[in-house]
Point group: C2
Chain length 568, copies 2
Amino acid sequence: MTGVLNSPADFTDEAVAGLVSVYPRHLRRVYGGVIRAGVTRPGKVAVVIGGGSGHYPAFAGWVGPGLADGAVVGNIFASPSTRQICSVAAAVEDGAGVLLSYGNYAGDVLNFSLAEERLRADGIEAVNLPVTDDVSSAAADDRARRRGVAGDLVVFKIAGAAAETGLDLQAVTAVAERANAATFSFGVAFAGCTLPGAQRPLFTVPQGRMGVGLGVHGEPGIAEVPMESAAVLAERLVGRLLDERPAAAGERVAVLLNGLGATKYEELFVLWHDVRRFLLDAGLELVRPEVGELITSLDMAGVSLTVTWLDDELAELWTAPADTPAFRRGPDPDGLPRSEVAAPDELPQQFADATDASRTLARALVDTVADVASLLHDKEAELADLDAIAGDGDHGRGMTTGCDAALIAARSAAAAGAGFAATLAAAGDAWADKAGGTSGALWGNGLHAAATTLDDQKAPSPEQVLAAVRAARDLVTTFGKAQRHDKTLLDALIPFVDALDEARSRGATLAEAWSEAARTAIQQADATADLSPRIGRSRVLADRSKGHPDPGAVSLALVLDRVGRHLG
Amino acid sequence: MTGVLNSPADFTDEAVAGLVSVYPRHLRRVYGGVIRAGVTRPGKVAVVIGGGSGHYPAFAGWVGPGLADGAVVGNIFASPSTRQICSVAAAVEDGAGVLLSYGNYAGDVLNFSLAEERLRADGIEAVNLPVTDDVSSAAADDRARRRGVAGDLVVFKIAGAAAETGLDLQAVTAVAERANAATFSFGVAFAGCTLPGAQRPLFTVPQGRMGVGLGVHGEPGIAEVPMESAAVLAERLVGRLLDERPAAAGERVAVLLNGLGATKYEELFVLWHDVRRFLLDAGLELVRPEVGELITSLDMAGVSLTVTWLDDELAELWTAPADTPAFRRGPDPDGLPRSEVAAPDELPQQFADATDASRTLARALVDTVADVASLLHDKEAELADLDAIAGDGDHGRGMTTGCDAALIAARSAAAAGAGFAATLAAAGDAWADKAGGTSGALWGNGLHAAATTLDDQKAPSPEQVLAAVRAARDLVTTFGKAQRHDKTLLDALIPFVDALDEARSRGATLAEAWSEAARTAIQQADATADLSPRIGRSRVLADRSKGHPDPGAVSLALVLDRVGRHLG
């Protein structure tokens, strides 16, 4: 818990007041909890859910058409009182009786049972139904002792939908009981939650381990095992639930993958990617699965998986419309659906026709990139040291990652028959995609810009090479938002291009001019240090107190020097 | 980060694949990110948003009708590459051009600008618009240097709605720029986030302090101050944003209260309760405020507040329909709205007419309850010690809390003219509401059950008192799901009622019988310890290794004994 509160005593009241003010179209506040803002059809069975708070969106986030008519809100992890339950039930009951449903915990059972009794004494037909989905809390043949966890949502949703269809209390109760009997949940905890105002969590899990069989009130689990990869964890969760597959179950299941609070959405989607695979491999049809924070336990880290075995009626009720603050089912979004296509890991490659001459040059380019990659791997540690002086030390890794990707892409393009320009463009794009960061984007897009000045027909003339180099420089200058002497790769690139132009204007061959310009770049990249290919780790570290070269300029100069050797 | 992953390198890809499989009605996957599952109207301007991942629901959760056509998904906290952006944009652009919008960070600016250039080179009209809402990251007169945080959502939503209305690219861009200029965000951090696979968080905030001016990529803030109450924090957040209220701003504002990941919903609602008050006090009209996790930063703890000053057009676009996985705007829920009523802290009290005799007895009951409360306060520490042997040590506190509440309710009822039964019932209900737990529920409902056998007309006869006591015992027996000798308050209650019956059958007066039965209860509550009013802290602790009395039975016996003194 991060401690956003005024006082622990007022926490729940203020949270309910805040919630209702965010959702005035959905909720009204009554003593003991919240009810629907809209008047319901006369004669509809009322569905009232509830339990302690600290579990949002359970329970107050699920009040609205198609789900609950009211939610009773206890204090953090504490049952609401009998009178609170009666207050919420009486506010929404309209002559057709009320189903009270909640997770199976002693305090809740006590108060909801007492409320049922009191409501009946007041002439209101009432039934109470505890949800018992948690497979870790009791054996399969001792179902009535199992706790209620995320399966609450499936049971409540189905009961709410059944009530909307006009079934009477007995029929709504029967279908909700069938949904409960068909619902199984299993979870793991990675870290405990902290109560509002408390200084430490209710329990802890050692780093690298996880508690198996968590509860949602800070119960830490029934066993502790080493942390598992998402795939292994998915197999554990799915396997445990399939172990209890009822004999009469069909293939259709509602599925919930629930985050307890501090296990975030991206993690849940990664886990779902594996959970889904195991469920599909078991031949199951997944009906409107839900992945997200459904029943939280404050800031507890952990996940739970819920499966409900659906028959026709349960499936129809599970997929029926609902509109609550935190759970909605509506019509599909507008627009004709696009066709489903396999997710591409790479863009499809289509290369323009190329001449044999250009293809030969493309293969030479592959050799050059391979040599540069080799150079960069040799220098990776030194570049990292250089970067660590003023940056985060990742420049060496960024360069090798980018160049390795460029090499793979160039090889693939050349093997597919691409010409020189197309191969260079593919290398640049791959560099940018994989290296990341400003440096990767500028390197990759610079190479790509150079390629766009060339073609796949003839070997480029020296003037075309110069134009390509200038295009790369222009791109880096325009988008890099830096000047020469700003300690960026421009400190090598600009003098390189100037020296190349100057040497060519003196009549030097391209290879001579390039080689000369690369030496200039090496000098300009660092006026104080003896960098060049002989640069040494100890020397760089010793230079920390002095002016130091920019790693981006150094690596560019080294690459330009190496490329020159291939122009002979 | 709790470590649900297979490998850091595959994390983002698997998360996107998982997300798309949960929302097949909304999303399709393309190279670089996700696009709408539905085909859009020909001629509609495309809106493409994006940035690094780790911020869900930003950005992929906001793709759908009324919002974005596509989202580009970079690695965790890293800009997507130029080619990824081009891929997503090309997949959704349909001849009317594309608006590229994203948070203002160097890597994103670079890649989205490069993508704009490349798209144009490919004949696609493109504009890029960085969002700059974070007031902590640069001065007000240096707006272009401000980062983009949760204000992204408002700008994207307004741009998406504008595109749906059929505006052209220039007009959509203009309204999105106006929305951005009108949007201001300010946040605080309580704890840093941990990258997938990392062993420690990117930064930490000392316990009891908070970082002011957080970023959403692990930037810890620009200053550190002591943790504040929700009300003080709300004033800080609102005050900072009102400081930059534009001169031409009206009263209408869109408001977002955003949780960064580990600051949970109940906390956000508590904070919103105060934020809303300060905004209303400033004379503002809050248009469809959003409270929840909007732009997270993995499992970072923190909150941010965003205000967008709305004109007529911006307000209309902000409230327009939208249907995406994580953000929806639809018609109001079904049903005529119930009237808005002030949230009651207490149920309205309506007491039946009572005779003067019964009112006199009610006042005597108040005195009795006051005496019992005094007794329980005296014994609170000893009861806590007793409870700590086998329980969680909260029994003493539960009893004083319940009895104090009962006293307040009884006083209030008696002062309002309630008779004896109504006053006893009110005391019981208050006890159950405030004490909580099984003990509180049984005490409160037991008193309430006793009251239902009585009336507000005549002083109860001894036989009526016995019937009331039996009703309480029956309720506790029925709902407490325990037997005598189970170490519950039944260990005192059952022998008390039996002894009371027996003494009355011998012809003792009610006062004599009660007093005798209370002594029996004290003995039966503990056969091994010398409890009674003389029970001592050291004695209880010394008894830990032996059989020990049940605190619930002890406290009941003590109360019964004290009540007996008032029956004389």
